[in-house]
Every structure is written in C-alpha cells, then in structure tokens.
C-alpha cells in the first residue's frame, strides 16, 4: 500500500518534470515576449500608441495624468548600512523635489530597502520592473547589490545611474543600462598612488582596507600602482569593520615604519582609526583616505586628531550651488549634507542627470506622458550635464564622472582642496 503511495508521488514528480522539460524549446519566443511584456500591457491600456513607442526596443512607459514619473532606487535603508541609503535617497529626492516637473508631471522617488545585500538587491530590481511607471533607477548603492540587479534592469530596459557603486568590473560587462557617477576604484587608486609618490614624495607607505569590496579594491590598486611607480608598500593590513578599537592592527602597521598610511574604506572606521592614531604610535604618519572617508563627519568627529588627513572627493570645491544645496539639505533633513555619507552631492546629481535625460526623450500625447524606454537608456548614456560634482558626461561603458577627483586635506578641522 505504501509503495503505491510512493508510486503516485513519483508519477506526479515525473509529470511535473516532463512538464518542465519541453518548455525551454519555446524559450526564444517566450523570452522575447517577456522583454516586451510591459509595453504590451500598456498597449492594451492606451489606444493607439505613438509611433516612437512602437519603434522603441523596450516600448514606452505610459504615465497617465495625475500620476508621477517614478524613479526607482535600491538602497540599504535599514540595518547597519542605513546611513548610506538614507543619505542617498534624501539627496536624490531633493533633486526630484526642486525640479518643477515636466509638462505638469512631477517626479517621485521610490526607494526600496536592500539592507545592502546582493540578494535583496535582486528582489528590489524584480519589484521595480513590475511597476510600469518606474522609468529609471538611481542606484543601486553598493556594488554587490548593483551587480545582482543589473541583468534584471537590462532585460526590462531601465537605465541605471549609481552615485556610489565603484567596483571597476561593473562597467566592464557590456551593460547598456548601467552608468555611474562615482569614479571607479581603479581611477581613484591610480590618482592616489601618483599623488602619494610623485607629489607628496613618499617612498614607504602602508596600505590598509576595511575588508569590503570597495575598500579592498582601492587598496589593491594603490598597492599595485605605488609599487609600479617604484615605491615600497611596507605593510598591507585589513581591519574588521564596525569595531571599537583598531589600535592592534594600527600598531602592527606602525612597527613597519611607513611614512603614510593609505586607507580604503568608509568614514566610520577612518574616524576610529584617526582617534587612535597616536595611541598606535603613528603620530608623524600621514593618513590618506579615499572618497568614502571624505565628508564633514570625519572632521567633526576626529577634531584635532584628524588634522592633516587627506581624502578624495568627486565634489569640486565649494560653489554657490553646492552651498545652496547644503543649506536646503540641512533644513529639510535635519542633518548636514555629507554627515550621513560622502555621497549626498553625487546623489543630488544622479537625480538631476536622470531628470535631464527623461525630459530629453519624454513627450505628451493626449492625457498621457510617454517615456520611450530604449531612448531613455541611450539618453542617460549620452548625458551632458553640469552638476555639483562638475561635468557629467558618460563614456561608452557608462563611466560618467568627467571632472576627475579633487584631493582635500584637513586644515584647522576643515577640508581644504589640496594644491
């Protein structure tokens, strides 16, 4: 009797297996169907689609009157990386808010929590592509989450503009939709190594990172470039992020006698390290950070200990627009721009770039706003926009920061551009 039971189950399993098997034969067809899935749905909603939409490879996003043009975002809004997500979503939403809209349609940011995890990044992406009024993605924030989300947006034809995903490999995969404002670790590392060796004249440095993909990527580049230039990297050490005490690894680094310490990582660890600088016996050693360590938080929280530290930012020195943004940001969110993360300004620009691109391709017909998706993907790639971070002009793989990094040094508790 029991065996019969088993047999039945096996048969069911087999049936479902065989049901599974032949399907991929029709795969090419279904795949295409899937790609044009959403536009087709919108076709049913609207009679007589404009020619531009029919021509477009991905069709159009159709936004009826009264609805908003949505820009999606996958960001760590909860959990221990929530500062980044909160800050960037605030920056982008401010950009959408100050814009006066397009022909009566306003913009709205739809930020979903990823917790910073790649898995959740893919989940959010899958959610974004099901909303037909989402036209572009600001983000994602971390490289892992971006990596996981890219193929999904690629299929749906949603252009991405990340203010903060720096992993060099992201733009090397031939993605049409992915662009970023952040400069890659490779570029930044090269500039940093050059500065350290040629301009500042150091020959012995130590390289440290926080064990994350961002920090490690930078550290590796700096190490390689510095050695290529003829310098000596006397210590290479990683720390565990989120700890209270880095005296031990810093002391170990100090004992090798470096002239400067390069650190790839974020402000939280950099601040703790700076405050323990003299405890570790690194008094006369220069701290050289990256764009993750730049920002008011660093100067605020290191005080006198942070004096002389160097960091990088894609934000050019103070401009009028920047001070206006800083003021508005502070008023609206109760924290200073750059206090939560170093990405407030690039987040604002991300929003600006996307809006500019949308306004280039969108058009109104009847009561609907049409955004041709394929055209938008191209428009973002062809952006030519001047924002807080300077010129935004994407190259053929989607590296959009055209103005290069600016180096800053803490002098009297303020970041001043380094000559």
């Amino acid at each position: 009797m029991k065996f019969k039971n088993f047999l039945i189950l096996m048969i069911v399993l087999l049936v479902s297996l065989s049901a599974c098997a032949p399907e991929p034969i029709e795969e090419p067809a279904t795949a295409e169907e899937e790609q044009t899935d959403e536009p087709v749905e919108s076709v049913e909603e609207v009679d007589g689609l404009p020619q531009a939409c029919l021509d477009d490879a991905f069709g159009c996003a159709v936004i009826p009157q009264g609805e908003t043009i949505k820009i999606g975002m996958g960001a760590p809004l909860l959990g221990d990386y929530s500062m980044f997500g909160t800050d960037i979503s605030q920056g982008v939403s401010l950009a959408l808010q100050v814009d006066d809209g397009f022909e009566g349609w306003t913009y709205e940011l739809v930020a979903e929590d990823t917790g910073g995890a790649p898995e959740a990044g893919a989940a959010v992406a899958n959610k974004m592509v099901t909303d037909p009024t989402v036209v572009a993605i600001a983000g994602h924030i971390f490289s892992g989450s971006t990596e996981a989300a890219m193929p999904i947006y690629e299929k749906a034809g949603l252009p991405m503009m990340s203010p903060s995903a720096t992993e060099p490999g992201l733009t090397q995969q031939g993605s049409k939709v992915f662009n970023r404002l952040a400069f890659t670790d490779a570029d930044q590392g090269m500039f940093a190594a050059n500065l350290l060796f040629s301009q500042l004249g150091f020959s012995k440095i130590a390289v440290m990172h926080d064990g994350g993909s961002y920090g490690q990527g930078l550290a590796d580049v700096v190490q390689a470039e510095f050695e290529a230039l003829g310098g000596e990297v006397v210590a290479y050490e990683a720390i565990t992020p989120g700890e209270a005490d880095y005296v031990a690894p810093l002391s170990a680094v100090a004992s090798t006698g470096p002239e400067a310490v390069y650190f790839g990582g974020y402000a939280a660890e950099a601040i703790v390290m700076m405050n323990q600088w003299s405890q570790a016996g690194l008094d006369d050693v220069l701290f050289f950070g990256c764009d993750g360590t730049y920002g008011v938080e660093f100067t605020d929280k290191t005080g006198a200990n942070g004096e002389g530290a160097i960091a990088v930012s894609l934000v050019p020195p103070d401009s009028e627009e920047k001070s206006a943004f800083d003021q508005q940001y502070g008023e609206q969110f109760g924290v200073e721009a750059g206090e939560l993360s170093a990405f407030s300004w690039s987040a604002f620009d991300t929003g600006g770039v996307l809006i500019a691109a949308i306004e280039k391709v969108a058009f109104v017909e009847g009561n609907n706003l049409f955004v041709p998706r394929g055209a938008l993907v191209e428009a973002v790639r062809n952006s030519n926009y001047v924002g807080l971070t300077g010129l935004v002009k994407c190259d053929e793989v989607g590296e959009c920061n055209a103005s290069g990094p600016t180096f800053y040094q803490v002098v009297d508790r303020v970041w001043l551009p380094l000559e």
């Binding site: 189950l9 995890a117 790649p118 990596e147 990683a238």
Partner: protein, 522 residues
C-alpha cells in the same frame, strides 16, 4: 473601585507610552496616511503642504478606543459604573500624558528649537501636523478630549461585547466544531483515502505548475527565495527539529554549497567551467564533508555550547571567505559573479523554469524529510531530542545519529546554496551573515519544531512577510521583531505544530528539570 482605577491607570499609561513612541518614530503620520488611503481621503490638501488633520484624528480615536478596550481584563465582567471609571481614568491619563508631551514639544517647536539632531522624526512638518496646525495648548486639549471620549467608548463597547455572551458561546462552539472536525475519524479516513490523496496531489501539482506562469518575475523571485528557505528549513529541521541539536551556524553549509557551486561554474576567478548538474552534486558533497569536519569533534557538546561553537564556525567561514588570505581562491569581498545558470537541453532557465525546479526540489525535500521522520532513523532522532541519555540507554547510538542528522542537514543546505548562487548568478560573503542562520532557525521554530508543513508556513512568514510588509517601509523590521515576540507568547508551539506538541510545553519543562536532577545527589 481601587482595582478599577488601577487597571484604568495602567491601560492609560501603556497607551500613552506606546503613542509617544509612535510619535517619536514618526509612525503617527504614516498611520494617518494609511487611514487616509483606506478611506480615500486626499493625502495633501490642494496647493498646501498641510496634511489632512482628519486622518490623524481618526488614528487618535482608534488609539483611544484601544485604551478603553484594554482597561478591561480578559474574561472579567465588572459592573457598568466600574467600566465607566476604567474608561475614564485610562483615557484621561493617556490624554494627559500625550497632551503634556505634545504641549512641551510643541512649545519648544514654536520657539524654534529643532529636535531633529536627536529625534529626527520631530521635524517641522511632522510637528505641525501633530499640533493640528494650531497652538500647542489647543492641540493638547484636543488630545485629552479625544483620548477620554474614545477610551470611554472603548470600555463601554467592550463591556457590551462581554454582555453578548450568547454570541461568544456561539463562536466558541463553532471554534470547537472546527477542532473536532479535524480530529474526527472520518476526516482522517477521507485524508487517508488514497484516491482522495492522489487527487489532491494532482490538483496541488497543477496549481503549482501554473502559478509561476502568472505571477510575474517579482513574485517568482520572492517565491524562489521562499522555496530556497524552505529547503534550508527542511535541512535545519532535521538537525534542530528532529534530533534537537541547536546549531546556530547553519549558514556555514549554505555558504559552502553556494561558493563551491559558484567557483566551479563561474568564469572568474578559476574558470573551471564544470557541468552545472555535476557542480550541484559536488556542492552538496562538499557541504556534507564540511558537516563531517565540524560534527565529528563537536557533536559531543550539548545545548548552548553547541550553539555558540556552530555560531563561531559560521562566522569563521564568512570571515575566511572575505579575507585577504583566501581572496585568490574565493575572490574575497567582491564575491563571485556570472555564476552558471542551469541549462536544460541547451536552453538557459527562465525564472519560470527556475521556480518549477525549486518547487520540484521542495517537494522532493518534503518527501525525503517525511519518510525520514516516520522511520527508525526519525524515531531515533526524536528520541534523542526528547531525552538524549535515555535514548542512548535504549540502544540508540546518539553520536552516530546526531552526526547523520548534521550531514543530512548540511546536504540540504549545500543544495540550496548551489541553487541560491545559480539563481542570483552572484554570490558574495555578505549573503552569509549570521542573520541567515537566525532566520532559518526562526523558520523551524515559528512553524513548529519538527513539523514539516510548519516549515513551509514559517518560510512564508519569515521571507515572504517582510516582502509583504514592504508597504510599511521603514517600519517593517520593527513590526517583524515585535511579531516574533508576540507570536512566541501567543503560540509558542508554532504556527502549525507537529503532532502532540500542544501539551509539550509542560512536558519539556519537567524534562529540563529532570535533566538537572540527573546528577543524582547520592
């Protein structure tokens, strides 16, 4: 009378604290918005940045009602005057506290104090809304009025409800009928009927086949995650639910499986390019070996010692994966990208195929777990869980069976790890944080220890619910944490307990006492 006032005051205090907390976390305006959504009220009044006050008032009224309801204790039926007192004292106290808080905060706000440096939710727009865009004193009076009135209404309403005992009894009888029904022999015989069973299975099978076709990619993704977590839950259930060994580092096996698969199929960093199905098998095998490596020395440990050792092991695996030391092998913190996708007859799996594959595996996993549970092996495990010492004296080689449980659990984890990596086409060390182990453990326990349908339910609650709760945005993890606590208090035996567990609460208590007394004081 004194108890009435006491109860009232307690209820008032509790609500006041909760309401103040909600104000401070900014939930009041979110709740008001939700109410507005439900009632179809406009969110923003025309051309003004002011929010409609009505929605907020409704929310306050609801909280007031809640105060009134909790002034009466469950099952009690005090006289009307008493109820009046309870409702009044509760409402007045809550109103006074909340009103005072609003008054103080509002006055400071009016003088231009910015609270946001410390309490980011007390911004100008939120505070203006909470003050109904009027003066602090007027606003606090409104709070007092609303709380008092609606608390009174709530208390009276509850009393009225209690009065309608007939209705309650009726409800009770219906409830017991439902329970009776499931216990009745004829139901069992119906379920036991092979034809019925087969029909049910086929129906469910057809449903499962068509669901992924109509869901769309988002739900396929979410449900895929749920399915992977069901597999993980099934595996951990063998270890924790069946054999009773508290393992907090289950993620180690998951990570081993995912990384083995990723490294064997991804073009970088090794370009092994192994056949995918072989890689799946190998991942499972490597996970089993990891289990053996861990299990042999440590499975003699008991209870919480085992928990911390396995927790440590999970952390060791994660730290090693992302460390500089193993970066050449594992690609370090960057993770492995372009992990191979399953291919069947030359075609890459779509999300629908994937969902089908996962469903199939979940079914197979359930089948295996069910058969194991009802066998000699399963009985030995459960005996170990119930009383390890006695199980061994009854002839069960506990060490061997504990290792077997760990290995089978690890196999499930390795398999799901491989699927996880292949579906995401990416795997990185951050996917294997301690919280994954904790989540899977929660699945096992929320569903009901050792219960197989419970695991499915648990996986839906744990991985599906947060996705559903996305509507609550920032508040979803808060709500989730609170739900976990409440569920443990209300239904400690799990959502779908395995057989006989209802009285298990007392049983294990006496059991644990027994264990303490074991070292017989001679």
């Amino acid at each position: 009378m004194i108890t009435a006032i006491k109860d009232g005051l307690r209820a008032g205090l509790i609500t006041a604290i909760i309401f103040t907390f909600l104000i401070l976390i900014g939930f009041t305006s979110v709740a008001a918005n939700i109410i507005g959504d439900i009632l179809g009220n406009p969110q923003v009044l025309n051309n003004e940045t002011r929010l409609p006050v009505g929605n907020l008032l409704i929310f306050i009224a609801l909280v007031g009602l809640f105060t009134g309801l909790v002034t009466l204790k469950k099952g009690s039926n005090p006289p009307w005057t008493d109820v009046l007192f309870r409702g009044l004292t509760g409402g007045i106290l809550a109103g006074l506290i909340v009103g005072t808080v609003i008054y103080i905060v509002g006055s400071f706000h009016m003088e231009g104090v910015d609270f946001r440096a410390y309490l980011p939710n007390l911004g100008a727009s939120q505070l203006g809304y909470l003050l109904f865009y009027s003066t602090p004193i007027a606003a606090s009076k409104t709070y007092l009025l609303y709380f008092t009135v609606f608390s009174l209404v709530g208390a009276l309403a509850r009393k009225t409800l209690t009065m309608l005992t007939g209705l309650r009894n009726k409800l009770k009888s219906i409830k017991s009928q439902i329970i009776d029904w499931s216990d009745k022999k004829n139901f069992h015989s119906l379920v036991g009927n092979q034809l019925f069973q087969a029909g049910l299975i086929i129906l469910v099978g057809i449903g499962l086949y068509f669901l992924p076709l109509v869901w769309g990619s988002y739900w396929n993704y979410i449900m895929g995650t749920v399915a992977i977590y069901i597999l993980l839950g099934l595996g951990l259930n063998i270890i924790v639910g069946f054999s009773g060994q508290l393992v907090l580092g289950y993620v180690a096996f998951f990570a081993t499986g995912a990384y083995t698969f990723a490294l064997l199929t991804a073009p970088e960093p090794h370009a092994v390019g192994l056949n995918l199905w072989v890689a799946v098998g190998l991942s499972t095998l490597v996970s089993i070996l990891t289990g053996l490596l861990l299990g042999l020395p440590i499975l003699r440990l008991r209870g919480d010692y085992l928990a911390i050792v396995t927790l440590g092991f999970g952390e060791i695996v994660r730290i090693l994966i992302r460390s500089d030391l193993l970066t050449p092998l594992t690609n370090g913190p960057k993770g492995v990208t372009n992990v191979g996708q399953p291919i069947w007859r030359g075609h890459v799996f779509s999300d629908v195929n994937y969902m089908h594959l996962l469903m199939l595996l979940v079914l197979a996993g359930l089948f295996i777990a069910k058969r194991l549970k009802d066998s000699r092996t399963g009985r030995a495990w459960i005996a170990i869980r119930e009383d390890q010492t006695v199980a061994q004296a009854t002839g069960v080689d506990t060490y061997k069976y504990k290792i077997l449980a760990l290995l089978l659990g690890a196999a499930f984890a390795g398999l799901s790890g491989a699927l996880f990596a292949s579906r995401n086409q990416f795997t990185g060390p951050e996917d294997f944080a301690l919280m994954v182990s904790v989540n899977v453990l929660c699945i096992v326990i929320i569903g009901g220890m050792g219960s197989l349908p419970g695991i499915i339910l648990g996986a839906f609650v744990l991985k599906g619910l947060p996705e559903l709760l996305r509507e609550l945005a920032d508040y979803r993890l808060l709500a989730f944490g609170a739900l976990l606590v409440v569920m443990m208090i209300v239904r400690p035996e799990g959502l779908w307990p395995g057989q006989n567990s209802k009285k298990g609460k007392m049983a294990t208590f006496s059991n644990s006492l027994g264990e303490d007394n074991l070292e017989e004081k001679v």
